[in-house]
Symmetry: D2
Subunit: 348 residues, 4 copies
């Protein structure tokens, strides 16, 4: 059995991870921590949760576990990663601290010195489908951001083939759990219900440099990105509508054929022609589904994930599985089916 | 007093119009019709409505009113318009029948012969702010579509100044009332709640030719449009996020100055720099608010309206006011304030 | 013109009051205060609000206004009332401070000394329909709680006629705005959406003594009350389902006839036989609608109000109108119609 | 492996059953039928579903399966049950056809002759926890209604001990999936969102005789029931708030001790003193949780289930497990944890 611990188990990402690891066939969950709720049990915060004891992070026995998951704010995660690594555990970090490989870029976007720059080169950027060579045996994995997961999985086949002919636009919409569990004015039910609002649009959101870094991984002359996140009045799920300018006349079939690299992927799926991605395809699963529509010389991609699963906790478990050499789908395939459904609309 | 009638008063648009006309200081609402509910009273369908009698459309006394509003499906509206005009009434048509001035374009997009082509040239396209010369005294007004209203009001200052340097992308999101009141699988509460879904994206939605026609009104070399509508899990409101490529380096201030044409408009407002449009700005009002964000050589506009008010019934009343020469804001300014609110988010 | 001021204008109740007073034909709104947001303008908090200046409460010029509305927490409201009264203004207090006439009862339920016991006898309990004799000219009005308004208006005709034959049960459901604007864990969108939860059930909620006090006003042997509030995943509205045991065999018609006292009321309405109250009847209006269903020897009442309007700000304006001798419906009748609708269901 | 088939797999209950049986460790799902969608695959209706073929019911090979689940309207289910039984399959009927043991009661409430009265005595009423003696080997199981499951599990310990001293009131609230998947006006998103509405209150809902029948099973002088269902704006979940009059002074501890019969139950749980049942406790699980609050001589129970799981498909699987002698929790325990959470509120 793999022995695991979670630092920060009471936020939405941490709790999602508890649910996945708690029912993972090869994992024993040894500890769960919380700063604000240490001393309580998890079901005092989440009524359907198991009654796990919540301890303070500084009481966490890193030396007793094989892997530590960090569900912490950026800046706080990196020092904890150092401590866990020193105790001999592997670390899967769900914060932003090790996603940006370039220290200067990190500093300029996060307005702070990097807390552990020596680890930046070692950290593996864990977009699992494109990190299978680096992940096995890795000590430190930077779990990708939720928006970047939805955007990069959709674009990667195009970037590899050098298709984009100009600035890419990603118009993304996220459920409210992406804003965290700490109550804020803008996550109050009365403010969100019936509303819909863009925020941090253009080139200012911190996920932008992470996505453009991904572009550079697979492309020598990477396009620029315009990124517009919006807050959706739903608890969970991300849908990114992505616009890619094309230089020459491609047929939809030619473009679709580039996505055959996903044919055997358990968690990424190109939808049939004419079908568009929706939250109903993916919520409560570790799936990313991608729709592809050609409109003149613009390619429109729709890419959907559950922000808490494939966009966070699910991908973290997937990464752990690959790091430790067990079945990549373990603990993920039997996941909950979605609670709702949506017939494709025939509307004009 | 202006005597008015509504053909099709029980759909969401028709009911919104009832509410506006019922409290309009200069209007007497003489009749309200319904095909499916003739013989009932309006409050049997809408519990908070006044107990207006619903009659069949063919019982409507067109000759007794000054103006008839048509809230009918396309194809059905045009013959009714003919009958109302012949009886001497003016017509404000909220369907698509007279929005497309070119008969052939209509036929190819609506897959049917136009039912009254002789009226196409006379009909005034009632995007009120840009039709003030043609509206006074007009016999027939084509009330714009909801999506086109949100997109054209945001783009018009740029089109006039010849700013767009390539394909424009409009990523629009609409509340469910836009899909009509007749129950469908895709408007079932269980299908919509928690979901978010694109539909008819690219260059296939029927509002596309209407918007590109608007481009041509104000621009000699009009750009192409990519239009992606999405269904939002809210009852009402449209937010369009619009991406405009720029040829040369514009400052945000230069671009903002183009919007000074709206400075004295009662119903269109450019938001201060840094503020983005949300549904909370506009729902239950006849306002269109526009946010402007420059991101490199892409201009990102956010434009919000209430689809049932400025996107339909409110603009129809505004048009009636201008046609008949009364105060343009009559019956609209004292409109309900929105029921919710949203602090601008400080999220990165 | 009546000159008015609002202490605490940025909570949900305060903002609702701003909207009503701002469009009231006989009121000039002289000041709006906020402790947390003094120095800002109201539209920085509510994007659709007018740009009213927010001042600190201790800067409020009580001496310049005819009436002051207090939208403050209990305990804080009473001393402010004293100051406003001393400055010569009338006070309409939307807090709980003057609702309970008995000082000891207040102390035992609110766990604190009453801050201004000398005023308790003078304060008029402003359930408007039953306070028309005491309100004209009153200096201090205690605006009723939201739940009590929905319950007392439904029960009063029965209490006067001595109908209830045992313990009354009120099973009430309220929208989230009733929990206030300050963000809390239990008002976070993710916690509320898809959930439904009872709280403070039985005989422990602070609105219980207020309701039982109302029973005593109109009945010599008042029944006991069991009161169960629940949190509904909607922004606004209260529906109370009330169960009244009957001693003898009453016909539904006999019971309905007791409600004829409401026949001429502008804001209270008994629904026709077979129709049940819903939020769609009342939201965004100052209406209370009441459904009456006889089931054996139990009478089931359904009573709906908008918690922010008839349950708070609307009733406060109604009380002001009566206190100052102007038309009772001024500023209230032209209120917004509800945004949604509900056909009576035919479900078994 | 158990071979199973589902008649009526495309409604909300049928689809929930597909999800459970598809991942059940001991079940092979041999066929799924649909009248309206025969010829399609299930994922054409539910985008996250497996691509199961949908056949017409009259093509279903009853003779090849061990058990057939019927998710059909009442009246249609009974003849299908006859056919399946004749082919040698066991039947778990999720309709109302065999819930009411008394033919005359069925006829008077369902306004039709019973289609298969000869089977009424054989059918086992499958409230699993109270049917463990009759279920093993049963040929025909009547799966309880959703509301009755929430009410009877909460009341049974009291009924057995003869505690209720008068009319019981069940004020129940259900998510919209309980109204079925066929689109109706009253399930349109725009009608439901922001609304809350009672329906069929008093003694007229068809689940009333089913509940009173349950009362008689366990009590010689069964109390009467007043039952008030309400439509909640959530996709799923039922919360019943139940009021039981008490004859003598009971302590809460005495009453709580009666619920020790559930101590070893995997799917029924009495909450600790002071905790109330919410949808967040149970959604997406087969759990029923019960809160118990004593208020003078009224006992207030709160009982929550997921209407599609413990209230329908989950209890059906639980019944199948007991009928066929396999582990009662098979296919149910590893079920999805709920997607949301709710801290107990501290509100007065």
């Amino acid at each position: 059995m793999i022995r695991a611990g979670i630092i920060g188990a009471t936020g939405y990402t941490g709790y999602e991870l508890v649910k996945l690891l708690h029912s993972h066939p090869f994992v024993e969950l040894l500890f769960t921590t919380s700063e604000s709720s240490a001393g309580l049990r998890l079901n005092q915060l989440y009524p359907a949760a198991p009654a796990l004891e919540l301890i303070a992070a500084d009481q966490a026995p890193f030396e007793d576990v094989d892997v530590v998951f960090l569900c912490l704010p950026h800046g706080v995660a990196a020092p904890t990663a150092v401590a866990a690594l020193e105790a001999g555990a592997r670390v899967i970090d769900l914060s932003a601290d090790f996603r940006i490989a370039d220290e200067e870029t990190y500093t300029s976007w996060y307005k702070t010195e990097h807390p552990a720059p020596a680890l930046l080169q070692e950290a593996v950027y864990g977009l699992t489908e494109f990190a299978r060579e680096q992940l096995p045996g890795a000590r430190l994995v930077a779990n990708p951001g939720c928006y970047p997961t939805s955007v990069l999985l959709a674009l990667q086949p195009l970037l590899q083939a050098n298709i984009p002919a100009g600035t890419i636009i990603a118009d993304s919409k996220s459920g409210v759990s992406g804003a965290g569990r700490a109550p804020k004015q803008h996550t109050h039910f009365v403010e969100v219900s019936g509303n819909f609002s863009p925020y941090s649009i253009g080139r200012v959101h911190r996920h932008l440099p992470e996505m453009e870094q991904g572009f550079r991984f697979w492309n020598d002359a990477p396009p620029k990105l315009i990124f517009s996140p919006h807050l959706l009045p739903v608890p969970r799920g991300i849908l990114s509508t992505i616009y890619v300018p094309l230089a020459e006349e491609w047929s939809e079939d030619e473009l679709r054929s580039l996505y055959s690299i996903y044919d055997d992927e358990p968690f990424v799926r190109l939808l049939p022609a004419g079908e568009l991605a929706t939250l109903a395809h993916v919520n409560y699963t570790n799936q990313c589904v991608i729709g592809l529509t050609l409109a003149g010389n613009t390619l429109v991609l729709t890419s959907a994930i559950d922000n808490l699963v494939k966009g966070a906790a699910g991908q973290a478990v997937q990464n752990m599985n690959v790091v430790l050499g067990i079945e990549e789908t373990a603990g993920l395939l039997s996941g909950p089916a979605p609670e709702f459904a949506m017939q494709q609309m025939d509307v004009a």
